[in-house]
């Protein structure tokens, strides 16, 4: 049997490296042990793959549809039901970093194909990822690289590749590159474009193909970050991945996503990391492993900095929605109207496939405004307040096993523990106790009607627990 602290640590790991889990699943992970679970998460291929065919059978447009709502629903379904949570979480990570919006693209399957590419390389090599990113049709169109040609460069992709996708503007108070480096980087990517595509009408959307056009490529000599050569895109990526700034940038992104909310990316040039020791360990592993993301994550999840960082992050809307659905165990198998679940995520301010700009979503406290908070609380409260949801039912049964009666303290503390070790302030715990006390003595009961009343009672409490401010944190 895992100790309470082991369970709490496991709940933390699964919230961060995945999307949270029902206490049953947390117990199962804890039984395997922390180290083994980290390895299982890092090696998604050890777990059953996501069963695309099942959901496509019932919802054919998840594969071949035109509308964005379908792809948003499909991805949300993957987050809710995947048995490879870290793979899906890292896919979301790359979407945060390489923020591409479908609205400019106006080709929704192409946007989804980019996400699939992130998934394929989610835990792979960062150099490979940057090459694939540079060839990704959605990215090429999003940042206008299809207009980047010899003699008439468009710097959009070249600039963002350096500023937002790999090195960052600066670190330790210094600039990481110059304006000339941006220009030279853009020149290296001239001719990385799209083959002309078929129109959408009358048979639906087609995928674009990446096309390298030597005739549009500027083959001249370039000077990039102090090196000279007739660089093409791959050469530039090779130089980028060797930079200490790239190691720093990627480490800080991973830290911000998995460990604790950091200030926004634009401030990184002048604001040092909050936890330099963990960042340094990640940077060293980046070079040691030759840019291997999986290796960096292994260091991260086993670090003390990570283990101690409980509830140091505001949940993103995707984490909130997928986490609640996994807890109540609904939509974990194919079921109609998944789009309604995905809409909730948009209402909370994270319209998947549609980050507000190329800078991605602003995270941390910026997830919270009055409209979003109402949506977050109401969504979670509606789900956990329904005792007919399978996950809630199992939670009620678990509590019932603890005895025929319990004190308000036992009920509240057990619920807080089962919900993943939530720690409200003493005053707020007292508020929860007060609500239980108002309902009179807590009896599990034996008859069906008594058990039903108990279930309603628990559901009412769970509804308040997801409304405590602390529940908004992961």
């Amino acid at each position: 049997m895992a100790t309470k602290e082991e369970l709490n640590l496991m709940a933390h790991l699964i919230r961060r490296a995945g999307f949270g889990a029902h206490p049953d699943a947390v117990e199962a992970y804890a039984a395997k042990g922390y180290g083994a679970t980290v390895e299982e998460l890092l090696n998604p291929e050890s777990q059953p793959p996501f069963e695309d065919d099942l959901i496509y059978r019932y919802v054919p447009y998840f594969r071949s549809g035109t509308g964005m709502q379908g792809y948003q629903a499909y991805w949300m379904y993957r987050m809710i039901s995947t048995k490879r949570p870290l793979e899906e979480k890292m896919t979301l990570f790359w979407h945060h970093v390489f923020a591409t919006s479908y609205t400019k693209l106006n080709r929704n399957p192409q946007a989804n194909k980019q996400i699939q590419m992130f998934r394929n390389h989610a835990l792979g090599n960062f150099r490979t990822m940057l090459i694939e990113l540079s060839k990704d049709p959605a990215m090429i169109f999003w940042l206008d690289n299809n207009e980047n040609r010899n003699g008439r460069p468009n710097e959009n992709y070249g600039r963002e590749l350096l500023e937002l996708f790999s090195m960052g503007v600066g670190m330790d108070g210094q600039s990481n590159y110059s304006e000339d480096d941006v220009k030279e980087c853009a020149r290296a990517f001239t001719g990385w474009t799209l083959a002309p595509g078929l129109p959408r009408y009358p048979y639906g959307d087609y995928f674009w193909d990446f096309e390298y056009r030597p005739d549009l490529h500027d083959d001249g000599e370039k000077t990039f970050l102090g090196r000279k050569g007739r660089f093409n895109g791959e050469d530039v990526v090779d130089i980028i991945v060797e930079q200490p700034s790239t190691a720093r940038f990627l480490s800080r992104h991973l830290y911000n996503f998995f460990v604790a909310d950091e200030p926004g990316v634009p401030s990184w040039q002048n604001t040092p990391p909050a936890d330099p020791a963990t960042i340094q360990a990640l940077e060293e592993e980046y070079f040691r492993s030759h840019y291997d993301i999986r290796s960096m994550l292994r260091v991260l999840f086993n670090s003390e900095g990570f283990k101690k960082s409980r509830f140091a992050k505001v949940k993103s809307p995707a984490e909130m929605v997928a986490g609640v659905m996994r807890l109540v165990d609904d939509y974990t198998t194919p079921k109609p109207d998944l789009h309604n679940i995905a809409y909730s995520c948009s209402y909370m301010g994270q319209d998947l496939y549609n980050p507000p700009t190329v800078e991605g979503w602003h995270t941390g406290r910026e997830w919270i405004d009055s409209g979003a908070l109402v949506e977050r609380i109401n969504f979670a409260a509606d789900q956990v307040g329904d005792p007919d949801k399978p996950g809630v039912r199992r939670l009620v049964d678990k509590l019932a096993e603890m005895g025929p009666t319990m004190t308000p303290e036992q009920l509240v503390d057990n619920c807080l523990h089962l919900m993943g070790d939530i720690h409200p302030t003493a005053a707020r715990r007292e508020d929860l106790l007060e609500s239980v006390r108002r309902g009179g003595e807590v009896k599990v009961g034996r008859t069906k009607a008594q058990r039903e009343a108990f279930a309603q009672r628990v559901a009412g409490l769970l509804r308040l627990i997801v409304a405590v401010p602390e529940y908004q944190f992961a």
Partner: protein, 328 residues
């Protein structure tokens, strides 16, 4: 005595449809097709769950005359949630199975709701997610009871008659069967979806033959969705996730495959694009590779008519691609 039978050849015949919802002529993710009296095509579309107007049955003919539609997304009598298959009885009544609502809904030849039946469960005469349906010569209906992994036979009004099969990968066992059809001798062919094969049974449900296996090579399948058999016993199966149709001879030997050959625009498509022909032409003039437009994308339902025309619902491309078998 020996007779030499030349292998049949196949020719691309026609395209029908384009991406459009009612009342404009077209389909939205057509997933099954059935032939009614007079060779009338009944095409079942199942598209967005968030748009009530994208799940429906369209009636049309080979001239692309649009003869109406019925149905919408929902749980009401005339509505579909997860429609799977369409079948037509001798009188022209139209049956649609629905895997979410666990029922068969019946419409008159004019498309008016007539009735529905079906009980969820695993006892005889109950089902879990009814999929492919076919009427036999006695006007009884065989249905793939997909999550009970068996075939059940009912009268057309839903009285249980018999069943065969159970879960598994052995001969006569199933894993979520989808499409079903009969040949002239009333033998039964089932697209054994998650076993990646087609199985053939006698009219009494005795196992006769299995064709396929998992893979993308010739004669292998990645989730076959539906099957059809012509008058000579040739077998056609939609290889759903390999985006192709495969043809087998009556002995189950691989003959050929169709990858999709749509040569351009259907009549409806031409009408559809009249608003902006210049722009369409301009875009097409730049394109070097038309293969993606020609080929199948997620083909699902398949049927053969009495003129040996093989009609395939090209789901992801919102059209029917039709092939013609030549000679004998």
């Amino acid at each position: 005595m020996t007779t030499t039978v030349a292998s049949p050849t196949f020719k691309y015949y026609q395209v029908i449809g384009n991406q459009s919802g009612p009342p404009r002529p077209g389909f939205t993710a057509p997933i099954d097709v059935a032939l009614g009296p007079g060779g009338l095509l009944h095409v079942l579309s199942s598209y967005y769950e968030y748009d009530a107007k994208s799940k429906f049955v369209v009636k049309c003919n080979f001239n692309e005359d649009y003869m109406g539609f019925f149905g919408a997304k929902g749980e009401g009598d005339e509505e579909f949630t997860w429609p799977n298959s369409v079948a037509v009885d001798k009188s022209g009544n139209v049956y649609v199975s629905d895997e979410w609502l666990n029922r068969v809904t019946i419409f008159s030849p004019e498309g008016k709701f007539v009735g529905k039946w079906g009980v969820k469960g695993n006892k005889n005469g109950q089902w879990e997610r009814p999929a492919g349906m076919v009427f036999d010569a006695d006007n009884n209906m065989l249905v793939c009871d997909s999550l009970n992994h068996r075939i059940q036979k009912f009268t057309k009004d839903g009285e249980y008659i018999s069943k065969f099969g159970k879960f598994g990968a052995g001969h006569g066992e199933f894993n979520m069967p989808w499409g079903i059809c009969l040949d002239r001798q009333s033998n039964v062919y089932v697209a054994d979806w998650r076993n990646d094969r087609i199985q053939k049974f006698s009219p009494e449900g005795k196992f006769m033959m299995a064709v396929g296996g998992t893979g993308s090579g010739d004669g292998q399948f990645n989730r076959p969705a539906d099957v059809a058999v012509d008058a000579d016993g040739y077998i056609y199966a939609t290889d759903w996730r390999n985006d192709r149709v495969q043809v087998f001879d009556p002995q189950g030997r691989y003959v050929t495959k169709f990858l999709g050959d749509c040569p351009g625009y259907s009549k409806w498509a031409v009408d559809r694009m009249a608003s902006n022909p210049e722009n369409m032409k301009e875009q097409r003039d730049l394109v070097k590779n038309f293969t993606p437009e020609r080929v199948f994308y997620q083909p699902t339902g398949i049927v053969v008519d009495d003129q040996n025309r093989i009609i395939v619902t090209d789901t992801g491309r919102h059209r029917l691609q039709i092939y013609q078998k030549q000679g004998r």
